[in-house]
Structures are given as structure tokens and as C-alpha cells.
């Protein structure tokens, strides 16, 4: 699905990613953990096409295409979705209008017909039920005045509506209460299929109790420094990151 090879990136001459490798196949869920400031959100932003970052080396293949050559909107239209760590507010634009416009541009790009009003409403109904999103939120302005948890849930609602091939969830679990966490996880699980894949960035192994990942990676100082199965998350939860840093230091000697 996505193959990241030796990715180096910087912002304002500050090196953030320093040779990152990651290969995600269709049907897989990968969790990325790592200390604050290690470059997790930066990775997500670069994959989504944010222009602030300069890729200085490496390449990324997404669904057979050179991802870095595509514009942000074309990446989205090809099926890449990013659930933002800090979702943006767009005053005066209703969630449904926003999604309808997005959906139709994606469909047009793919040479599909515009969605009918009836089908769209049915889709909204189905997907908002999936993430138990209050129907009032669907018609309110995008994220405006939403609580932290509501914003996160809205990201998952949008993901469900757009049905991406690859979803990147950047700390979607932070700020969620226990019930919301279960609901969001449930939403992600329902969208899981042999054709889709997900990269889940999180600090807490708790989310991974609900969404069972195929792989867990540790991102540290701009690189994936350790990979393993679900048990790695438990180990991190228990021991923190120091032992990994020590391991790295001794390897370097």
C-alpha cells in the first residue's frame, strides 16, 4: 500500500526525519509510538503533502505511484486520509456541505458520477451511526465550537464517509473519554478490510486493546528504531522509552 524508503525531511533547516523506513501492506494496521517531538506528526503531514516541510532524500510509493509527486488534494483523491491531531475549524461551512463537496470532487477525479442528495443523506446516516456522532454535529460548522473529543470523533466520521485506502490517525485517541475511545476504535475496526490499511499514531497502548495492530513501531529521533508485534506496545507502556534509548546508545558504541 505504502512504502517509505530512507525518508529525510527538514523544516527551517531543522532535520526532523532522518532516514525513515516503513512498509505497510494492504489489510495491515501499523501502530507508531514514540516520545514527544520525535517526528510522528511530521511524518503524517509529509505523507499528506503539507508544504512546510522539505523532503531532502528518500522516496515514498503509494498504491504504485510516486506519492511525493502528487499534490495534497490528489493524494486525498487517491485514497489517503489523515485524521488530524488538531482538527481545523471552518466557520460557517456545515460538516455535511464540506463532506459533500469533498466526496464529489473525489468522485469527479475518479471519473464517477456526483452523488445524489438521497444517497448522500443515506451515507451520512449510516456513517454517523457507525461512530455514534450526534446528528446535530453533522450539520454544524466544521469543528467550530466542537469539544476536543467531538473533533476527534468528527475526524473518524469524515474518514468513514470518504472510505480511504490508507488512513493515518494522528493521536485520535488523545482527549477521548473511555466510551468515545471504544466507539472510535469500533469505527476503525468496521472499516478494516483486506483492501485498506491504517497507520495509527498513539501514545497509549490502551487504544491498541481495541484496534489490534499487526505491527508496532517506535519512532525516535526521526527514524523507526524498533519494530515488533502488539506485545511491543505493552512493553513500552510498562517500561517507557529509556530502555530503547539505552539500547540505541550501546549499539552505537
Amino acid at each position: 500500500m505504502i512504502n517509505i524508503v530512507n525518508l529525510h525531511a527538514e523544516v527551517e533547516e531543522k532535520k526532523i526525519l532522518k532516514g525513515l523506513n516503513l512498509n505497510v501492506k494492504a489489510g495491515e494496521i501499523h501502530a507508531i509510538m514514540g516520545p514527544n517531538g520525535s517526528g510522528k506528526s511530521t511524518l503524517a503531514s509529509i505523507l499528506a503533502g503539507k508544504e512546510d516541510y522539505t523532503v531532502t532524500a528518500g522516496n515514498v510509493e503509494f498504491d504504485g505511484k510516486d506519492l511525493l509527486e502528487l499534490s495534497t488534494e490528489d493524494r486525498a483523491r487517491q485514497g489517503l486520509f489523515l485524521a488530524f491531531q488538531y482538527p481545523i475549524e471552518i466557520p460557517g461551512v456545515s460538516n455535511v456541505n464540506f463532506l459533500k463537496s469533498a466526496l464529489n470532487e473525489i468522485r469527479e477525479y475518479r471519473g464517477e458520477e456526483q452523488i445524489s442528495a438521497k444517497d448522500f443523506l443515506a451515507l451520512v446516516k449510516e456513517k454517523s451511526a457507525l461512530v455514534e456522532l450526534d446528528s446535530k454535529l453533522a450539520s454544524r460548522s466544521v469543528n467550530e465550537g466542537f469539544s476536543g473529543g467531538e473533533k476527534k470523533r468528527n475526524e473518524i466520521f469524515q474518514m468513514a464517509m470518504l472510505n480511504p485506502k490508507l488512513a493515518i490517525l494522528d493521536e485520535t485517541d488523545s482527549g477521548l473519554d473511555i466510551d468515545a475511545l471504544r466507539i472510535v476504535a469500533n469505527g476503525v475496526n468496521k472499516l478494516r478490510s483486506p483492501k485498506n490499511a491504517a497507520i495509527i499514531i498513539t501514545h497509549y497502548q490502551r487504544l491498541l486493546d481495541y484496534i489490534i495492530p499487526d505491527f508496532v513501531h517506535v519512532l525516535y529521533d526521526g527514524r523507526i528504531v524498533k519494530s515488533g508485534g502488539k506485545e511491543l506496545a505493552l512493553e513500552l507502556e510498562e517500561k517507557g522509552y529509556d530502555w530503547i534509548k539505552e539500547e540505541l546508545a550501546s549499539n552505537a558504541e
Binding site: E73, A76, I88, I90, Q114
Partner: protein, 482 residues
């Protein structure tokens, strides 16, 4: 807004140049350029006007000659050469049209290009349209239906002939000829416009709509509109403009007077889309308009405007809240791009007790344009418990444009409550990135964000107008980011 489709917008977005830039080939009847008493007499006689109308014009002309152009606006432009303008131009017609079928096919084609096919409008929307091409009304519909209710909706010239008592009673009562330079000029040389009278207690059952259009190169356009809502009456009036592309500047100095008698309500909506000039600031319309309404007891006047066109706009639709408990509202979106300049806002003059006014102004500036809000809230000594709420927001796109706010408050009664809020924001890179990440193109993203920003104002417009306005916003901001 449900019938507004993405495809429509997409199409409009591909249409880079000003889409109404064409000139219709209708022979027109023009008088020599320049302005003097003889020209005014000529206009008056061509229009077969009664003497009182000619006197009115001549008096206004005398006043105008003593006046100078206002300089206080935050706009810079080359002053029009008033003696190089032809003050009258009427499409040549051998006879007046009896029915829609009789209308010149070329004129019909023009209207089609404008997207306001009369057949469609008449059949589908029930909007009565008084179409003004250049300065003479050429088609009026729904007249009979309206007249059953005693509603008069006709061209201004016709009103002068058919309803002189109403015109004489009200014309110039809200905007005296001496009000300002452009109003005085208009009073002297106006060629036509619209007249509307809603009798006591009548609720006008349809939106009354006039499309204005400048058609002759080098022709000044001086419209005059008078709307009177008698006691307890209601009317919603729509005014929309498009003009063909021209290289020389064209002057447009309209006067609109609204009169809301006791318990009456007038909603006046404008979508202004005059030719704004090209990307380098060449050409475009000078739009110097005086619009004002007067409210008697418990009456209400709402001005809603979406201003996207014109090279220079100078316009302050205002309300004189004379009667106790009267209400004035002003909702405005003003967009400037490239080298456009707009100085627009409102005046709310509180004379009566318990009067209330609301001002919502949304300015959007892009390119190298200058966009100013100028508003006056005036509370007179006897206006006990007057209330005003003003909100003036500016949205900037890029960093070569300017947004300015000039709020003036004069309060002579201590019981007044006046609130003023103002914000300035930029279209955020973060917002754009978020939209694009969901698959939206930059144009579509901007259009969504801008329409969201203007929502409070757009919501005030009747449905069909709101759709048109949304598209216009997108078209006028095209290519303004990145």
C-alpha cells in the same frame, strides 16, 4: 442552496475572464456628449416629461454646479470628465412592446447570456422583472397580477407619467438633490429606473426584481429607484447588475430611495457585479451610489448587498429611523480583487425612541485591492433606548491588499446601547491544507471558506440570489491565493 451544484461552480471557475463582457448590437439613440441646461431640457423632452420634472432636474443641476466631488473616501481614481459623457442613451425602438413575444430577439439573446431568461423566470420563479437595458425599460412582466393587488411596479419614466402625485410626493424626500455631488448629478440627468408602490396592508406576493445593465460604451448610467411601502405593507426587492467589458471607465451614479410608512417592511437586496476592470486595473465601472431609506413608526428596512464588481465603489445604504420602534438593518459582503477599491458601509440615524439597528459587514480583500468599511451610527437627543449592534469583519487573502475600518459613533442620548465588534483574519494555510487533505481543490476550498465567512449575509438573500452570489464570490476571488 440545495440546487447549487459543484458542476456549476466548476464551470464558472474555468471561465477565467469576466463572463458578462460582451456588447449587444442594438442601434441606440444617443445625444451629444456634455452637460448643460440644454442637454437636460433635451433629456426631459425626449422622455416627454411634465414641467415639474424638468424643473426638478434644472434645480438639481444648479445645485450640482456649486458642488465638488467628495474626497474623503479611501479611494483613488481619475475623476470622470463630466463634459465627455453622453447623458442619454435609449435603445431605438419604433414602438413599445405589448407583450413579451414582441421584444427584440437580440435583446432576448442578451438576457439569455446574462442567465436571466425571462421565459424561465416568468414560468419557474414567479419573479416579476423590470429589465433596464441602458436607460429605458424594455419589458415588464406580471404587471396585471400585481395591479390586481393595487401594486405599482414600473419604470420610473412611466411612473412620472402615470402616477405623478406619488412621484411628486415622495421623490427627493429621503435624498434631497443637495445631498451630495453624485445624488445631485443623478437628480439632474437620471434617465430611468424603477418605481414601486405597495398599497396599505398589502404583502407583495413575489420578489420584485430589476436587472440593470450598462450597454453603451462611454455612456454614463444614472438610475433612479423609488420604493414606497404604505402602512402595513411588505415588499422584497432585488436589484442585480452586470455590465459588458469596456476599456474606458464608465460612471454609474444611482439614487435609490426607500420609504417605509407605519408598520411597513422593505427588504432591498443587491448583487452588484459591474465590470471590475482587468487584472492590471484598466477600465471598470465607477459605482457612486446613494441609497437611503426612511422608517416611520414600527417599520423596518433591511439592506442586503453583495458587492463583487466595479473598479471603484462608493456606497452607503442607510436608514433614517425616524419613527419610534423602527428597525434598520445592513448586511454586506464586499469583495475586492486585483486593483479594485471599495469604500462602503452604512449610516444608521436614530431619531425615534426604541429604535434598533444591526450592521453586519464582511469585507474580503485580495490582490492589490483596497477594501474599506465606513459606518456611522448616530443617536439623536430624543432617541431614548436606541440600540445598535455592529460587526465588521475583514478577511485578507495574501499580503498586498488592504482592509480598513472607519466606524463613527455619535451619541447624544445616554440611554443608548451601542456594541461594536471587529475582526481581521487571513485565510489560514491550515484551513486550506485541511480542505485539500479531504480532496478539495484550492479554488473550491477558498470558495467554501469564503462562503462560510459570509454566511450571515448570504442567508439574508432570497434563495436564487444567494446561489448567484455564491458563484460570484468564487469567480471574483479566482486565482487570488498561491
Amino acid at each position: 442552496m440545495s440546487n447549487y451544484t459543484e458542476t456549476d461552480l466548476e464551470k464558472d471557475l474555468q471561465d477565467q475572464e469576466y463572463k458578462y463582457g460582451f456588447v449587444t448590437n442594438i442601434e441606440s439613440d444617443k445625444i451629444p456628449v456634455g452637460l448643460n441646461e440644454d442637454i437636460i431640457r433635451l433629456i426631459s423632452s425626449k422622455k416627454e416629461e411634465p414641467n415639474w420634472m424638468l424643473d426638478y432636474r434644472l434645480k438639481a443641476f444648479a445645485v450640482w454646479q456649486t458642488m465638488t466631488e467628495p474626497e474623503w473616501g479611501h479611494v483613488h481614481y481619475e475623476k470622470p470628465k463630466f463634459d465627455e459623457i453622453a447623458y442619454y442613451s435609449a435603445p431605438k425602438q419604433s414602438k413599445k412592446y405589448e407583450s413579451w413575444e414582441d421584444v427584440d430577439p437580440e435583446m432576448k439573446a442578451t438576457m439569455k447570456k446574462l442567465g436571466i431568461s425571462m421565459e424561465e423566470q416568468m414560468r419557474l420563479t414567479g419573479v416579476a422583472v423590470d429589465f433596464v437595458m441602458d436607460s429605458v425599460s424594455v419589458a415588464t412582466s406580471f404587471k396585471s397580477k400585481l395591479s390586481e393587488l393595487g401594486i405599482i411596479f414600473c419604470s420610473f419614466s412611466e411612473a412620472v407619467k402615470e402616477h405623478p402625485e406619488l412621484v411628486q410626493k415622495y421623490m427627493g424626500t429621503v435624498i434631497p438633490t443637495s445631498d451630495n455631488f453624485y445624488a445631485a448629478l443623478n437628480s439632474a440627468v437620471f434617465t430611468d429606473g424603477s418605481f414601486c408602490y405597495i398599497p396599505k396592508g398589502v404583502r407583495c406576493p413575489m420578489e420584485l426584481s430589476t436587472y440593470f445593465r450598462i450597454n453603451e460604451g462611454g455612456t454614463g448610467q444614472f438610475e433612479r429607484t423609488l420604493v414606497i411601502a404604505d402602512e402595513g405593507a411588505y415588499v422584497s426587492y432585488l436589484e442585480g447588475c452586470t455590465a459588458p467589458q469596456r476599456d474606458e471607465n464608465q460612471l454609474h451614479a444611482a439614487v435609490v430611495e426607500l420609504i417605509a410608512l407605519e408598520n411597513a417592511e422593505i427588504k432591498y437586496s443587491t448583487v452588484q457585479n459591474w465590470y471590475p476592470g482587468d487584472k492590471n486595473g484598466l477600465g471598470g465601472i465607477y459605482n457612486f451610489v446613494t441609497k437611503r431609506g426612511i422608517c416611520e413608526r414600527k417599520s423596518k428596512i433591511s439592506w442586503t448587498q453583495v458587492e463583487t464588481g466595479s473598479a471603484v465603489t462608493w456606497k452607503y445604504p442607510s436608514c433614517i429611523l425616524k419613527g419610534d420602534y423602527s428597525i434598520g438593518e445592513f448586511y454586506s459582503v464586499a469583495v475586492t480583487n486585483n486593483y479594485q477599491q471599495a469604500d462602503t458601509g452604512t449610516k444608521m440615524i436614530h431619531l425615534g425612541k426604541n429604535t434598533k439597528s444591526t450592521i453586519i459587514s464582511k469585507g474580503i480583500s485580495a490582490g492589490k485591492s483596497q477594501n474599506s468599511y465606513r459606518g456611522l451610527v448616530q443617536i439623536h437627543k430624543n432617541a431614548k433606548n436606541a440600540r445598535n449592534f455592529s460587526q465588521c469583519d475583514s478577511l485578507l487573502m495574501g499580503d498586498t491588499c488592504g482592509a480598513h475600518t472607519f466606524p463613527y459613533i455619535e451619541c447624544k442620548n445616554p440611554s443608548a446601547k451601542i456594541e461594536h465588534e471587529a475582526t481581521t483574519s487571513k485565510i489560514g494555510e491550515d484551513q486550506l491544507f485541511y480542505c485539500k487533505q479531504r480532496g478539495l481543490s484550492e479554488e473550491k476550498a477558498i470558495s467554501l471558506i469564503v462562503n462560510g465567512y459570509c454566511k450571515e449575509v448570504l442567508n439574508q438573500l432570497p434563495m436564487e440570489f444567494a446561489v448567484e452570489a455564491q458563484k460570484l464570490l468564487a469567480i471574483s476571488l479566482e486565482g487570488s491565493v498561491g
